[in-house]
Symmetry: C2
Subunit: 436 residues, 2 copies
Amino acid sequence: MQHTLVSPQLVDETLRRAAIDNMDNASIRDIVKVTNLLEKASGLPYVRMEMGVPGLAPNRIGTDAEIAALQKGVAQFYPMLEGLPELAAETSRFIRNFIDVGIAPEHILPTVGAMQASYVSFMALTEYKEGEDTVLFIDPGFPVQKTQMEVIGKPYITFDIYEYRGRKLREKLESYLKKGNICAIVYSNPNNPSWVCLTEEELQIIGELATRYDIVALEDLAYFAMDFRRDLSHPGKAPFQPSVARYTDNYILMISSSKLFSYAGQRLGLLCVSDALFNRKYPHLKARYNSEELGYTLAYKLIYTQTSGTSHSPQYAVAAILKAANEGKLDILQDAREYGKRAGSMKELFRKAGFAIVYDKDGEEEIGDGFYFTIGYPGMSGGELARELLHYGISSLPLKGCGSTREGLRACVSQIGQDKIELLKERLARFRQDHP
Amino acid sequence: MQHTLVSPQLVDETLRRAAIDNMDNASIRDIVKVTNLLEKASGLPYVRMEMGVPGLAPNRIGTDAEIAALQKGVAQFYPMLEGLPELAAETSRFIRNFIDVGIAPEHILPTVGAMQASYVSFMALTEYKEGEDTVLFIDPGFPVQKTQMEVIGKPYITFDIYEYRGRKLREKLESYLKKGNICAIVYSNPNNPSWVCLTEEELQIIGELATRYDIVALEDLAYFAMDFRRDLSHPGKAPFQPSVARYTDNYILMISSSKLFSYAGQRLGLLCVSDALFNRKYPHLKARYNSEELGYTLAYKLIYTQTSGTSHSPQYAVAAILKAANEGKLDILQDAREYGKRAGSMKELFRKAGFAIVYDKDGEEEIGDGFYFTIGYPGMSGGELARELLHYGISSLPLKGCGSTREGLRACVSQIGQDKIELLKERLARFRQDHP
């Protein structure tokens, strides 16, 4: 007797309707769509682990500041491309307080989400030196960044970090860099989808190579400070958010307000260019965009022509949040720690049901509990497992589409409140009965 | 004796500092910068006509709705790429009420300002058919749209409409279209910078040719309904905002909330794709962006990868404004009519001081009073005139940089409140005394 909650016929038919043959090839949005259809047809609310949307209320300091700004009438005025001066100033202080490195306020640009930060960075970095137009991704990673490269029309190369942790990373990176066509190394830390957190040794390797080959390390800090194994929440006090910025001057940091402050809706990202790079002149940027300096090109050629800056009132919101964080009046992890707790409970349930954590270690250390974790089941590919779990009311994302070479799934904890944990337990028990 | 208010030495030195040799080649932002420097050094507040920023308070219905949305917590949630359903629905009604054409809500996409609307349109339209990658601009026009083309890396052609009004437009357009490399015709109506409003005859010509050559008319309605010669403010009642949409199915409209509703700061534009085009499939889009349908490409490949949509709360603001307009509870021109009054007063002062209106007619009709007007002075080029006026505390934009073949300036009325009119009068009197 099978213990499925949704009939195989319905799952098959729904996947067919969405033109999904193998779930390894489905995009996040495809899977969201399939899950919506399955919920509607079956009447069963799913345990939804497929998409990384913030699951907590937005930071109140932010909405209060934004409402005050609207009441003052800021909706009338174009924001400056350099952003609100307070926002740049507080971001600069934030970077000093929580990463312990220095970036001048004038080298920080607000963007329409970290999405625009990476888009314009790719446009600039693939054009700054003739012949160096290829981006190297340390995978697994956020699939949309590769779609950005495709839309821009520039080449990229990726490899899965799984086999190249620690000092093995140096040789692997150099095997690409010595070819001379790489313009930038991109990675997220903590990592989406695997929740790998690069060790100081690994960040040092990346930094040293960025300097040696004179290329840029583009560091995606979308999950800033959310490695809960250390308490990174105290301004001006170690431990700090690890960053390549400590090991090279050739870096750009991308900070997001979406996950840490649950402010995804207002699309406010921060593009933080190192002091050494911002005013650096590149003849090929001049040839391509008629603008020689990297920072000026990002602000006045790329952000300006794409969106003419980013909405005005959200800049007040994020400035107020960062100010409170800098002054120690806001614990930046106050809300986000909830994600770590959920991950801990969920991982335990999965392990008990016979699953294994795919990306399980950072160096010698057990991987942290955070916004995502990865799971595999013996004898099943990621695509097969994702499909199978749909029968038990659980949705997830195969790792293949994120550039992973491992078989397994990404699970996002954000939509799994404590009330869903019990549901997950029951459903995994059913799965386990059918897959002994 | 000279009657200048700012010394020639200071003007020369400031222009040199800004690396401006000839003002005909200066960008809007260059001139803003020069004027800021001159104000600071001379202590004289300028009559600032160089930049098209909204000069009125933001629409209150908008800010109230936006504040209510923030209080509900929308800052947490990613907006859908298709936009808030109410926003799309009200925009569709608005287009029916004020243009008298039909576009289904699902073919309307919110963008980060009309800036993003044109950027993504250029990216899609220059790739939709092999060999048709050149955009044709009916000039004069907004200079940044050409910078967008340069950033995207695609060719464009322009001509000045001045000599080709009325039925002469057909032959001129066909001389380009028959070469087969044009993908789209772009123009603004009312026109920035000249305030030319295309006649129904001209719009019909553009529409017929867009159909005949199967290309897209991309109509920039940034100054929607602001041709004050007719009262276009009554929902569902003629006269309507003129549009190419009445003459072809091959159109895309771009609507802005910046000028009409003084909502520039929140960056909310509307990209309205005709029902005939939205789901149309183009094999070359598939080859280039891996997405065959025009509308899907715009939303899921271009807007998604660039910004992942546009800020959430401003969508509530504009939806509420459009709803009030549709229900006849808001006179859409209530605030904007002020611009027409200012233009009337200012043009009279300039005429009395010996200036002439450069773009002076639409067909047989005198040009309207609106957000911009154009002026020339006998015996002086646009660059010379702009420079000369700086000595009298007046800043403006030469027409050359807007693709005009005429000598003269664009004057924007937005920052010239009634208190500044008297100042302008005195300063023009000084100019007149020195240039008899």
